[in-house]
């Protein structure tokens, strides 16, 4: 798939003698040394990344890491000192004011940390703003704005002023304003950081829901690793203006690029990052036509107390315990007569935190299935506990799954 947005070697230097500072930077001096020698501050240092259509790309870093500068260069609220930024293959760094305005109107919109709503305009007028400045007829823009407000759940609040709304609702207006322009790319600058934790979580869920149906390309800035792991399809980690690592949440958790990342992710609640696929083990299974005797034999050989039953297409039908199997042999019944059909299954993408409950209450091991209910493996308690304890040996690092 072709990237929607490509950032190539982008550098931003603030302050005086930018050219000299850029040269020093090329020659490999550190941010601190450059500040000392030239008085210029390196905001972003040779950042490169690619964002694909439909993904939520999170840029994560502590304050001062250059993430806010980076996102502002993507729509040129800040002009890069050097490097290229391509949106749909067009380099926006080269653009004149007129072309740039078109890009901002049609291709890329933004949601701000402190909402940045216009206090003198109503919710509807705020939402319409991006359309209004494009001189879209008022009927049409009202229709689009109302639709966007409905998407974010603010139907009925059109004529309120921003000051009459709570923080969470204000940011919904901010989101609606960005959605109303119907751009492919959405920049979200610490969009939920000013909200209290409960509302923040709610907004994250809602963003994921909206994304499900709208498939925008979202670049999301945050300093909160939990948030990054929760909503990011991929994460770029920044430190001192440099992109240190780009990868999926698991890759970053499991294979930190360096010590900094490792320290950063050390305190993360693994149960919110790792999925069933990380801890699943090969499952013993048998098709029902093999009969209870064979099933019992396999269990005895392997030392299991139960075994899963699948059809020829590996679709999960149920499970049978050793007790049930021996009963079936005695009473001359088939597997299908005695197997348990209402067994608990989890999806391979299910987070560990979401399967702990099932794991605790189920008498059988948890079955891991894919979208078509094909058995992928099994989760046993020991592996989960090992993984949560940070034991890397307990993980399927290479994503080894049952073929």
């Amino acid at each position: 798939m072709e990237p929607k947005l490509i950032v190539k070697n982008v550098t931003k230097i603030f302050g005086k003698s930018q050219k000299a500072a850029l040269k020093l930077l090329e020659s490999g001096l550190s941010k601190k040394e450059i500040l000392k020698q030239t008085g210029a501050t390196v905001g972003v240092n040779h950042a490169s990344l690619e964002v694909y259509p439909g993904e939520i790309f999170v840029v994560m870093g502590l304050s001062g890491s250059g993430k806010s500068t980076l996102i502002r260069m993507l729509n040129r609220l800040i002009n890069p000192t050097s490097g290229e930024i391509l949106i749909d293959r067009e380099n926006i760094v080269q653009m004149g004011p007129k072309e740039l305005r078109e890009v901002r109107r049609k291709k890329i919109s933004m949601v701000f940390q402190h909402f940045a709503l216009f206090p003198h305009k109503t919710v509807l007028e705020n939402t319409e703003y991006g359309l209004e400045i494009q001189k879209i007829p008022s009927e049409e823009r009202k229709e689009k704005a109302l639709k966007a407000l409905e998407v974010v759940g603010l139907k009925g609040y059109e004529n309120q002023l921003p000051s009459q709304l709570s923080g969470g609702m204000q940011q919904r207006v901010g989101l609606a304003r960005a959605l109303a322009s119907d751009t492919d790319i959405l920049l979200m600058d610490e969009a939920f950081s000013a909200l209290d934790p409960l509302i923040r979580k709610e907004m994250q869920d809602e963003l994921l829901e909206i994304q499900e149906s709208m498939k925008k390309t979202i670049i999301f800035i945050t300093h909160d690793l939990d948030e990054a792991l929760r909503i990011g399809d991929r994460i770029a980690l920044m430190k001192d203006g440099t992109v240190i690592q780009i990868g999926t949440p698991e890759e970053i958790m499991v294979n930190p690029a360096n010590e900094y990342v490792e320290r950063f992710v050390e305190d993360v609640d693994l149960s919110k990052v790792l999925t069933a696929s990380h801890v699943l083990k090969r499952a013993e299974k048998i098709s029902p036509d093999r009969g209870p005797r064979v099933a019992l034999q396999i269990m005895k050989d392997q030392g299991y107390s139960s075994i899963f039953i699948v059809d020829r297409k590996k679709k999960l039908l149920g499970a049978i315990t050793a007790d049930d199997a021996s009963m079936a042999v005695k009473e001359n019944k088939s597997i299908e007569d005695v197997m348990k059909r209402d067994i608990v299954t989890v999806h391979e993408d299910t987070l560990l935190i979401d399967l702990l409950d099932a794991l605790a209450t189920s008498s059988l091991p948890l079955a891991v299935v894919d979208g078509e209910n094909r058995l992928k493996g099994v989760i046993i308690r020991g592996a989960v506990i090992g993984a949560l304890a940070g034991n890397k040996d307990a993980l399927n690092v290479n994503n080894e799954k049952e073929a």
Partner: protein
């Protein structure tokens, strides 16, 4: 070691001279525009009986502010009308409105510009500081040269004085718009003007209005100063009261200014958030007021345009039926008013101002050979500097020639017989005085010109000091009005007294205070009382309280004066 004084004043004069000569047409154009604007506003405000405007202003006060302000407006304006100051109030209001309109039209764009551009802001800030701290009188001087006396220099001085808050607060208001809102407008692809008009200006509006409110107040406070150069209105009433020491009238005019100030302040403060905004939307009310005002202006403008068509070519229309006068309340002004009555010059107006403003106006007209009629008197350096003539006065309205008297306080003879004797013996001729005056006019310091004259006329001076004892440091204080003639005479007699060993102090005051000072004994004497016409009122008032030592100069003259290049010769000619 001494560094010679930089001729800064001279340089400024040269620049001003150059501007007057080369940009005259430009200034005349501006003058005409502002004059017309003001006339129209004055006509509109003065239309119909006062109660109409009083009620309209009361309604506006009620809508924007509260019942309290509305009641104050109603009662305050009725009081002003009752005091007989309605016409002056209308003129003042018109002056303030015209100044503020110009302030807004110039100030807000400059404020916007400086908010968008740091270089502009850096350049403008010191200029604004300069405008606000330079004493307002100082811009009146070039303003007279550029625009003549009357309302226009008054309005421009008000604009210069009042414009800084509008510029500053427009700039501030726009710069104070939160950065993330600016980022938001830019991120959605706004053009610079969309950003300005949809976000920056609406959000800056309260701050900008606060600036305009301050400008209104400053413009109003300039109204009194503007009357020094002939702007009419409450300021002229105050000025007249000051020059004539009329405490009661001064208070009345002052009170009227305070009432207008409070009304304008409250209405403009609440303009952006009217009290009754919920009941009736502000756009309707303001829209209605604007339409009424504009319609009235159009009618007024049509009305104004007509009289200009007839009577072109005679002297009256050439000078706009205006006689350029001096300080209100001066005897010369009274005499001129009498002459206007005697000769039935009904269409004519006598413009008030000051002697300095009159000579400036004369200089301006003379250099361009334009017609002008001024109130003149002898001795005055203008007769040596320009070729001028008095208009014949067959009816004798200006009376015969006058004499300048020396007057001292009661008891000076006993306390300081030497000084008394010298003052008593002081007597000279108009030609003597004009010698000193021309020296001063040509740039000599008054003290130096006086010393030079004393040196050259030792025989005359010895006549004055004959028989008088030496001063031995005794104090003598003299007061004088800032007319060229009195500056000359007072400095000469002052220098003579000093030469004789007296400790002399000279104080420059207005004519009224000059008489009052000698009468109450706070000054020892003066050599500047023009009698029997010019200072008649003051003399009659203080007659019993001071000692008249008789004339120190005879053969003065008053009358309407014109440059010799004008073809008229008699006051009678003005009627044509």
């Amino acid at each position: 070691m001494s560094i010679p004084k930089l001729p800064l004043a001279h340089w400024v004069d040269i620049i001003v001279e150059w501007i007057t000569q080369h940009l005259g047409a430009f200034f005349d154009g501006i003058s005409a525009i502002i004059g017309t604007l003001l006339d129209i506003i004055m006509t509109v405000l003065g239309y119909g009986p006062p109660i109409i405007l009083i009620l309209l202003l009361t309604l506006l006060a009620l809508y924007t502010s509260r019942w309290g302000v509305a009641i104050f407006t109603f009662i305050g304006l009725l009081l002003v009308d009752n005091l007989g100051l309605w016409d002056a109030t209308i003129k003042t209001l018109a002056l303030v409105i015209a100044s503020v309109v110009i302030t807004i039209v110039i100030g807000i764009p400059i404020g916007i510009w400086s908010s968008q551009n740091d270089k502009v802001r850096k350049a403008i800030t010191p200029i604004l500081d300069f405008m606000q701290t330079m004493p307002a009188f100082v811009y009146l001087i070039p303003a007279i040269l550029f625009f003549g006396i009357g309302v226009v220099p008054g309005i421009l001085a008000s604009v210069i004085f009042a414009i800084p808050p509008t510029i500053r607060l427009t700039n501030l208001g726009i710069r104070e718009v939160p950065k993330d809102l600016i980022e938001a407008t830019e991120a959605f692809g706004s053009t610079t003007s969309q950003k300005l008009f949809k976000v920056q200006l609406p959000l800056a509006a309260p701050t900008i209005l606060a600036g305009i409110n301050q400008s209104i107040m400053l413009a109003l406070s300039m109204v009194v100063f503007a009357s020094l150069v002939g702007a009419p209105g409450l300021g002229a009433e105050v000025y007249r009261a000051v020059t004539q020491i009329k405490v009661g009238e001064g208070f009345e005019a002052g009170l009227a200014i305070v009432i207008i100030a409070i009304i304008l302040d409250r209405i403009s403060q609440n303009f952006i958030k009217p009290q009754f905004d919920k009941t009736i939307q502000k756009k309707w009310i303001y829209g209605a007021f604007t339409i009424v005002f504009l319609v009235a202006c159009i009618f007024a403008a049509i009305g104004q345009a007509r009289p200009d068509l007839k009577g072109a070519g005679n002297v009256g229309s050439q000078v706009n039926y205006e006689i350029t006068g001096i300080d209100p309340g001066a005897g010369l002004m009274k005499a001129t008013e009498k002459a206007m009555k005697d000769y039935q010059l009904k269409k004519w107006t006598l413009k008030e101002g000051s002697a300095a403003a009159m000579t400036a106006q004369l200089k301006k007209a003379y250099e361009k050979k334009q017609p002008i009629i001024v109130t003149g008197w002898t001795p005055h350096w203008m007769f040596s500097k320009y070729k001028l003539k008095y208009l014949d006065d067959p009816k004798g309205s200006f009376g015969k020639g006058e004499a300048i008297h020396t007057m001292v306080r009661k008891g000076l003879k006993e306390d300081n017989p030497g000084a008394y004797q010298i003052l008593d013996q002081f007597y000279w001729k108009p030609s003597d005085m004009e010698e000193v005056m021309l020296d001063i006019e040509n740039g000599a310091k008054p003290e130096d010109a006086a010393k030079k004259w004393i040196k050259q006329h030792a025989d005359k001076v010895s006549q004055w000091t004959k028989g008088a004892p030496k001063g031995n440091g005794k104090k003598v204080s003299l007061v004088y009005v800032a007319w060229e003639s009195e500056i000359a005479s007072t400095n000469v007699i002052g220098a003579v007294l000093k030469q004789e060993g007296y400790n002399v102090s000279l104080k420059q005051v207005e004519a009224g205070p000059m008489f009052a000072g000698v009468a109450d004994g706070s000054a020892d004497g003066m050599v500047a009382a023009w009698l029997p016409t010019t200072h008649k009122d003051y003399y009659n008032k203080y007659k019993g309280k001071l000692v008249d030592l008789g004339p120190n100069l005879k053969g003065t003259k008053l009358g309407l004066t014109v440059p010799k290049y004008m073809k008229i010769n008699s006051i009678e000619d003005l009627k044509k």
